[in-house]
Symmetry: C2
C-alpha cells in the first residue's frame, strides 16, 4: 500500500505535476475563453502531439496593469507617484509654487497633468530617481504593504484578478515559465511580484530609467538616474521580450492596445499559440471601459482580436469572481 502511494507520488513528480484543468481554473466560468486556454495547454504539453512544445520553450508573457491587477481610475503606479510627492514635499518647499507639483499638492490631479507628457515625466523622475536601487526597493515595499486604493480601500496588491492568479499557477504547473511584460516600471514591480504572483524579479520586464554603478566609500551602489532607459509599451514590448527573454513566447496575455504588438509577435511564431485579451466589461465588480478610455484603451487590439481569432475574455461573463475578497 505504502509502496503504491510512493510510486504514484513519484509518477506525479516526474510528470512535472500534471495539472487537472477543470479544477485548476475554478474562478472561470465554462465558456469559449476557458476552453481555448485548456485546449491550448493540453495541445502543447501532450507528448507526441504535433503541437508539443518542450518545457524550455513554454514561455508565457503577461501584461500587468489591467491584466493581472486593476488599473482604474488610474494606473496604480501613478497613485504611488502622488503619495510620494506628498511625502517628499517637505524636502522641496519650491514645489508649492512649481507645476506640476503645486497642483498635485492641492489635490488637483487633472491640473497637474495639463502639462502632458512633460509634466508626467517630471513627476516620475522626482519620485523614482536620485536614490539607490536598494532605497527605491524599500520605498516601494513600504508603499505596497500599506497604501490603499481610494475606491475599494484595499491594498493595491489585493486588487489582483483571482482568475488570472489561477491561470498563472495552471500554466506553471504545466511547465510554463511565466513572465510579466509591462509598461510599468520594472523596479516598481519587482519588490512584490514574487510574493503576489509567484513571479521572481528575473522574470519581470518593464520600463526603466538608467542606473549607474558607483562606489560610496567601500560600498558599491547602483544610483537611479533621471533619464529614461527603455519604454516597455506597444512596439517596445517585443523589443523588451527579446532583450530579456531572448525567445518568442508561445502565449501572451494583455488587455489594451499597448499589448497589441506583443500579441502579434507571439502569434507570428510557428506552431500552436495563445493570444488572450482581458476585456473590462464589468462595471459592477470592477470597471467597464475599452475604446475611449484614457487608461488601458482597448480599440485596435480588440478589432485585431476579432479578425485573428484571439481569445477575448468577457470579464462579466467569463469570470465567476474578479477579486479574492469578493
Amino acid at each position: 500500500m505504502k509502496s503504491l502511494f510512493m510510486k504514484s507520488l513519484l509518477a506525479l513528480l516526474l510528470l512535472g505535476g500534471a495539472a487537472f484543468a477543470a479544477d485548476s481554473l475554478p474562478s472561470w466560468n465554462d465558456g469559449a475563453a476557458k476552453k481555448s486556454i485548456i485546449t491550448f495547454v493540453e495541445k502543447v504539453t501532450k507528448p507526441g502531439s504535433p503541437d508539443f512544445v518542450p518545457i524550455a520553450e513554454r514561455i508565457a508573457t503577461f501584461d500587468n496593469d489591467g491584466t493581472l491587477w486593476a488599473e482604474q481610475p488610474m494606473y496604480f503606479q501613478f497613485f504611488f507617484v502622488l503619495d510620494r510627492v506628498k511625502v517628499l514635499a517637505s524636502q522641496h518647499p519650491e514645489w508649492k509654487t512649481k507645476e506640476p507639483f503645486a497642483s498635485l499638492l492641492k489635490g488637483d490631479v487633472k491640473g497637474a497633468l495639463e502639462g502632458g507628457e512633460h509634466a508626467m515625466a517630471e513627476l516620475v523622475m522626482a519620485t523614482h530617481t536620485g536614490m539607490t536601487e536598494e532605497e527605491f526597493q524599500r520605498v516601494v515595499t513600504d508603499w505596497i504593504t500599506t497604501a490603499k486604493h481610494p475606491k475599494t480601500k484595499r491594498l493595491y496588491a489585493e486588487m489582483v484578478y483571482q482568475p488570472m492568479q489561477e491561470l498563472l499557477a495552471y500554466l506553471r504547473a504545466n511547465g510554463f515559465k511565466t513572465f510579466i511584460v509591462s509598461g510599468g516600471g520594472i523596479e516598481f514591480m519587482r519588490p512584490w511580484t514574487e510574493r503576489v504572483y509567484g513571479i521572481p524579479p528575473e522574470q519581470v520586464v518593464g520600463s526603466s530609467i538608467k542606473t549607474k554603478f558607483e562606489m560610496r566609500g567601500s560600498k558599491p551602489v547602483l544610483v537611479r538616474l533621471p533619464e529614461v532607459n527603455f519604454i516597455d509599451d506597444g512596439p517596445g514590448k517585443p523589443v523588451g521580450i527579446q532583450q530579456h527573454i531572448g525567445r518568442r513566447p508561445i502565449a501572451a496575455f494583455g488587455n489594451s492596445d499597448g499589448d497589441q504588438q506583443m500579441l502579434q509577435w507571439t502569434t507570428a511564431g510557428q506552431g500552436a499559440r495563445l493570444a488572450l485579451i482581458v476585456h473590462h466589461t464589468d462595471g459592477d465588480r470592477e470597471w467597464a471601459y475599452d475604446r475611449t478610455s484614457s487608461i488601458g484603451r482597448l480599440d485596435k487590439a480588440l478589432d485585431e482580436a476579432r479578425v485573428k481569432g484571439w481569445t477575448v475574455v468577457d470579464m462579466k461573463k467569463d469570470w465567476k469572481r474578479v477579486f479574492l475578497w469578493e
Copy 2:
C-alpha cells in the same frame, strides 16, 4: 526493498538532488580553490545553517570570455567579425578601399584596428546589424557550428573549460540559477549557450545594440539597428545584473578587470558570498596572461582579490584538465 528504494529516490528528488561535491568536480585538483567552492555551496544549501540561502536567491553569474571559454589570441566574437567581413565583402565592393575593412580583407588585423574604438565599432555594426534578430541568429548558429579556432583547429564551442562546465552543473544541482554576464554580444551568445552550457537565453546578459519592432507586410520583425544599446562590461555588469536579474548574485565568476565591479557588487551583499577569478597561468594547455594582456587584462581585480580574499584559480595547478578533448 523496493519501497525503501522508492523512498530514497523520493528523498533525493525532494532534496532537489543533493550533489556530492567530491564527485561533482572531477576536473578540479584538491586545493584551496576547490575547497572554497565546496565550503560555500555546503554552507548556503544546508537547512538550518546561519548562511542558508533559499533556492530562489541562489543566483550565480558567470563571465563568458576567459571564464567559461577561451579568449585568445582574441575574443572569439572578433573572429566572427573577421569571418563575416569576408563573407559580406562581395556585397560591399567599397570595402576594398575603405578602412578598417580594406586592411582586414588583406589579413592585416593589426592595421584594421589602428583606428581604435571607432574602427572596432564600424566592424561590429557592419557585421551585427541591418538584419532581423532571426536572421542574425541563423548567421551565428551557422558560424558556431562550423568555424574553427586558428590555433587549436577546434570548433569554438569545444573550447569551453571542462572544470567550469562541472562547476555550472554542480551549482545547478544545488538549486542555483546560473547566468552569463558577459561583455560579449547578448545575441551572439544566446543561439548556443543552452546547448553548450545548459544556460537558456533568458539567463544570458550581455552587451546589446538597439532593435526596432516593425511590420513587414503582415509579418512582425525585430530589426537590429547600428546603435549601441548597452555595454555590459566593468561598471556595466552590476547595471546589467540589476536590469536583467533584479537581485544581487551570491556567487560570481570572472577572469579579468572587466569583472571587478561584478565581484564587488556580489560580495557587498550580506551573508555568505563567493567571488572567484580564473587566473590564466597555463601557457602549455591554454594561454598564460594577466596584468599586461590587451585581451582579458587581469590587474586591478587580481590585487583586490588578494586584499579581499577572493578565490583565485591557478589554472595550471587547480585544473586537472582544461578542455574536454585533452
